[in-house]
Symmetry: C2
Subunit: 144 residues, 2 copies
DNA sequence: CAAACAATTTAGAATTATTCTAAATCTTGA
DNA sequence: TCAAGATTTAGAATAATTCTAAATTGTTTG
């Protein structure tokens, strides 16, 4: 059991969504469950395919809608590391990403305790940041 | 005259491309010029439109090819801050990006002198990183 | 409870972003 | 000059995302 996992229970989802003026629906619960069950940074298309197994009637547009709802409510993050489909991540604990340029896998990585306090220009209001490290992962480094 | 701008002269481009086994062609020069002339992080589509003004016969596929060639040769960076088209940046001096979530503008920002030395897992080979700060830019903060 | 209203979902069309294909063109070296 | 390889081109194909209008669901109010 992963102690760091946010609870996938309705309580938490309802609260977070509600604070953004959104409702918890069976589809949103399902999409969230998909994200939590396999944390491999799936694309919207992959989430769609997985969600359909438990909920065959779910549509493409709904998956996008649900993912957007989760992101807006602070229940998931969008991850953009390269050209192509955006990926999604339900880990809301502060972390960065390692993107393997050989196999494309994305790994969560801890951020340094000393957060990089980047000086943004005067008057700019920073609200969050994304750090992505590009390189070769262990598996690919071995294979070479 | 921007002292920080890399020279857009053929010499430099030829060397950098050559080191990657690629040639400097008029199209690649043109695409590079477009990036340097207006550093507003254009999408491939925007680069295409701008390049066509000086080189009307240039094609879509060529712009993608040229951008990829420049990125591979270390003459430009890809910038992925959100869903949608990838953007391009010819500033190869180490820097991060500020993405205004209100107007979508992307600003280059200096990185802290103390680089965040993130601990990647054992055996992983980091090769570079991207830092994006999301928030509200000065102009949008004023308008509100 | 029933009507009215708002939010959400759905299928599928539409749009946008990117890649692919095959033929034509250009460059380079024998 | 010729062959081989790299590059460009137009346009088709594919992938990713958004939009639309109708149906459904949930909520609120009379």
């Amino acid at each position: 059991m992963k102690p760091r996992s946010p609870q996938a229970n309705g309580q938490h989802l309802t609260e977070q969504l509600g604070a953004t003026g959104l409702r918890l629906t069976p589809q949103r619960q399902q999409v969230y469950d998909v994200l939590v069950q396999k944390r491999d940074h799936p694309t919207a298309e992959e989430v769609f395919i997985r969600a359909k197994k438990a909920m065959p009637e779910i549509s493409h547009a709904t998956v996008y809608n649900c993912l957007d709802a989760l992101v807006k409510s602070g229940l998931a993050r969008q991850v953009n590391v390269e050209r192509g489909a955006t990926r999604f991540c339900p880990n809301m604990i502060e972390h960065g990403h390692f993107h393997c340029s050989a196999c494309g896998t994305i790994y969560d990585v801890d951020l340094p305790h000393e957060l990089p306090c980047v000086a943004v220009p005067q008057g700019f209001k920073p609200q969050g940041y994304d750090l992505t490290i590009h390189g070769i992962c262990l598996d690919c480094a071995k294979k070479k």
